[in-house]
Symmetry: D2
C-alpha cells in the first residue's frame, strides 16, 4: 500500500524538472515546516484556478479583479492594434513584457507543434489564433503577426507551420508575418558560433 | 499588490533547491493541470502532518496505522538492541534501510551541527540522543552507536561533537562509538583521490 | 631540482585551458608514445614559426608556398574591396570563412581591448588597423568595416573603442562602421533570454 | 594538402582529453609565443625519452642521475620488502607517494584489463608482475600485494583478474592479496551513496 509520503511524492514528481528523489525531499521538507506555511500552500494551490482567469482574447493567465474577461494588456485603450506577437507560453510572455518595448497584442499558443504531429490543432491554439487574426485584420486593424518562438527545432517547426496556416492572408496582402531576428545573442563567442547564426548576424549587421 | 500567481510562486521558492524561476514554472504547470490532480495535491499537502507521525523513539517520520507511537523498526520484536545508528535525516535513513544489512535501531538527528554554532542542542536532537542512549545502555542493552554521517565538513564536525558528548560513557566502558568506515567509494579513481581517502583505504585494505 | 618531467609539465601548463594535472598527463602520455610520434611532434613545433607566415595585410597566419607576403584571401583578384571584417583572432576568422558568405577582406586584431587598459595599441593592432583602413578608403576603395567581435563584455568594449578610433572618418562620410547583428542565436529559448537580446531580436524581425 | 598548422593540430589531437578544436587553439597559442618558449618546448619533448628512464623493477618513469637502472624507491636500503603495491599508472603512483604512509615497493601495471580482452598480457604487465612476485616471495621476502586500482568497472575487473593469476600462491599460503578498503570517501553524502559503498562502510566502521 502506498503511504501518504509516497502518494505526495508521486504527485510532486509530475512537477516540471522534478525527479523522484527531489519529490521525496519536498515531502520531508514539508514535514518540517510549521502549520502556517503548510496551510497557506495547500490553500493557494486549491484556490489557484478560481483566482486566476485565462484571458479570452490572448489566453494569458491573469487575475481578474472585478470578473473581467480580458487581461490588462488586451483591455488597454491605447493598445497598438496593428501588431500581435505569438508566444509559446506564459513564461515567454513575461520575458517579453519585462523588456517594455512592445506595445501590441500578444497571443499565447500553449505549446509548440512538432512537425510529425498529425493533429496540431488539438494540442496548441492554432484555430484560436486563426480566428483571432481574422477577427482583427482589415482597415485600421491587425497588419502583422510576430512569431516570437524559441530558436529550437520545435520552435522553428512551429514557426514554419504558422506561416503555412496564414499563407493565404499573406499572399492576399492582408497580413505580414515576421519572426524575431537572428544574430549574436548576449554572451555569444564568435569562435563557438554555428554557421546559421553567423550568416544571420552578418546580413543583419548595423 | 502581490497576485495569487506570485504568492504561490513565493511559497514554492522555499522548497529545497527551487529558485524563483522554477517556482513560477510550477505555478504555470498547475494552471494547466486538471482539477483531479490539483485537488489531490492540495489535500495531500493539507493532511500530510495529520497522516504522518514522528516516531517517539527514533524521530523518523512514519504512518501510524492504529495510532501507535513507534515506527515499524522501533517496534520490531527481534530488533538488535545492542547497536544504534545515528543519521542526519530521513532520506539518509532510507538509503541505509535499502541496503538491508543493518538490524539495529536508528536515530534521526534532524540536522548537522556546525562547529561555530553556540547552542547546538537547540537545532539538532543531541539531548534526545543522549537521553535515548542513557535509557538503553546497561546489561543486555545498547553497546555501540554508529555515526553514519556524510563525510562533509559539517558531517565530520557533528561526528566529533557527538563523540565529545558521549566521552564519559566511552571512558567508563559503557558505550562504544564507531563511524562509518572510510575508503574508496564506488567510482573513485585513484588519480583524483585525496590523501585522507587513500590513507584510510590503505589501512582498511582487505 | 626540477626534473625533466616537471620541466616539460610546466611548459605544457602554459597551454590555454591546461592545468598542472593535465600538463603532467601530457608528459606521461608522451612517455608511452613511439619515437616516430615524438620526433614528428618536436619537429613540427620547432619548425612551426618558420613554416607559417603572418599576412602583412590582414595578420592572419598562413603557409606561404613560394614566399609570398599575402594570404590567399588578401591576394585574391576578385576580392570585394569595399568591405573589411575585423575579427579578434585566427580561430574566429576560420569560423567566418567556413560560412562562405563573406567575400571581402579580413583583419585580425590579435586580441580584445579591456576598457581599463591604458595603452590599448600596445596589445592589439589598432594602429595597424587604422593604417590599413586609411590606405584603402577613397574612390572605389574601402567603404565599410564590419566589427565581428564576440558579444562578451570585452568584445563590446573593443567594438566601442574601434568606433571611437574611426569616429572622424565616419563623421566625414568616408567610412561606415557596422557590427554583427544581434538577435536569437541557434538554440536560444525565449524564456531564458536577456532583455538586450529580445529588444534586438524584436527590432531586427523579418 | 595538409598545412603545417593542420599537421601539428592533428598531433596535438592525440593528447589525452584534447579534441580537434583545442588542438587547433594550441597551435595558434604557439604561433603567438616567443622563440625561447618554443625552443624549450620542442627540445624537452625531443629529449624526454632519453632523459627519463623506466625502472627495471617497478616500471615507473624516473630520471637516472648516474645511469642507474632502479628508481629511488626500488633502490632504497630500508624498503619494506614484505609488501608490494600494484597501481595502474604513474599518476596513481604519485598520488600514493604524496600520502607518505606507504613504505613498500610499487609496481606500475601500465593499464587496466577489460574482462573481454583475450590477451591481457599483451596490454598490461601481468607477466612482469608475476615474475617480480615470484622472484621476491620466500623467507624474509614478499608476503602481500596490495591492489590499489580505481573502483571503476575496469579497475574491479583487473583486481579480479590479478587475484586469479595469483590464486595458486595464495592457496599455497605463500602470498596474501589485499585491495584498498572501500567506504565513504571525502565529500561523500549518505543520501547519494550506493548500496555497495554503505555496506562496506558499515562493515569497516571504527
Amino acid at each position: 500500500m502506498e503511504t501518504h509520503i509516497e502518494k505526495l511524492a508521486t504527485l510532486f514528481a509530475r512537477f516540471p524538472g522534478i525527479g523522484e528523489r527531489q519529490a521525496k525531499r519536498f515531502v520531508y521538507f514539508l514535514l518540517r515546516q510549521d502549520n502556517g506555511y503548510i496551510d497557506a500552500l495547500a490553500r493557494e494551490i486549491a484556490e489557484l484556478r478560481s483566482k486566476v482567469s485565462q484571458c479570452t482574447e490572448c489566453f494569458v493567465f491573469f487575475e481578474a479583479v472585478n470578473g473581467q474577461a480580458l487581461c490588462s494588456v488586451c483591455s488597454k485603450r491605447d493598445l497598438d492594434q496593428g501588431v500581435m506577437m505569438v508566444v509559446e507560453k506564459d513564461a515567454d510572455y513575461e520575458v517579453i513584457k519585462r523588456t517594455r518595448v512592445f506595445g501590441g497584442r500578444v497571443f499565447v499558443l500553449g505549446g509548440l507543434a512538432p512537425a510529425i504531429l498529425k493533429d496540431v490543432d488539438a494540442y496548441i491554439r492554432i484555430r484560436e489564433l486563426r480566428s483571432a487574426v481574422e477577427r482583427r485584420t482589415g482597415k485600421g486593424g491587425l497588419q502583422e503577426i510576430i512569431l516570437a518562438l524559441s530558436l529550437t527545432t520545435l520552435g522553428i517547426q512551429t514557426d514554419e507551420y504558422i506561416r503555412r496556416v496564414f499563407a493565404d492572408l499573406v499572399d492576399a496582402g492582408t497580413l505580414r508575418i515576421t519572426s524575431l531576428g537572428r544574430g549574436l545573442s548576449t554572451g555569444t563567442e564568435i569562435e563557438y558560433s554555428d554557421k546559421e547564426t553567423i550568416v544571420h548576424a552578418l546580413s543583419g549587421r548595423k
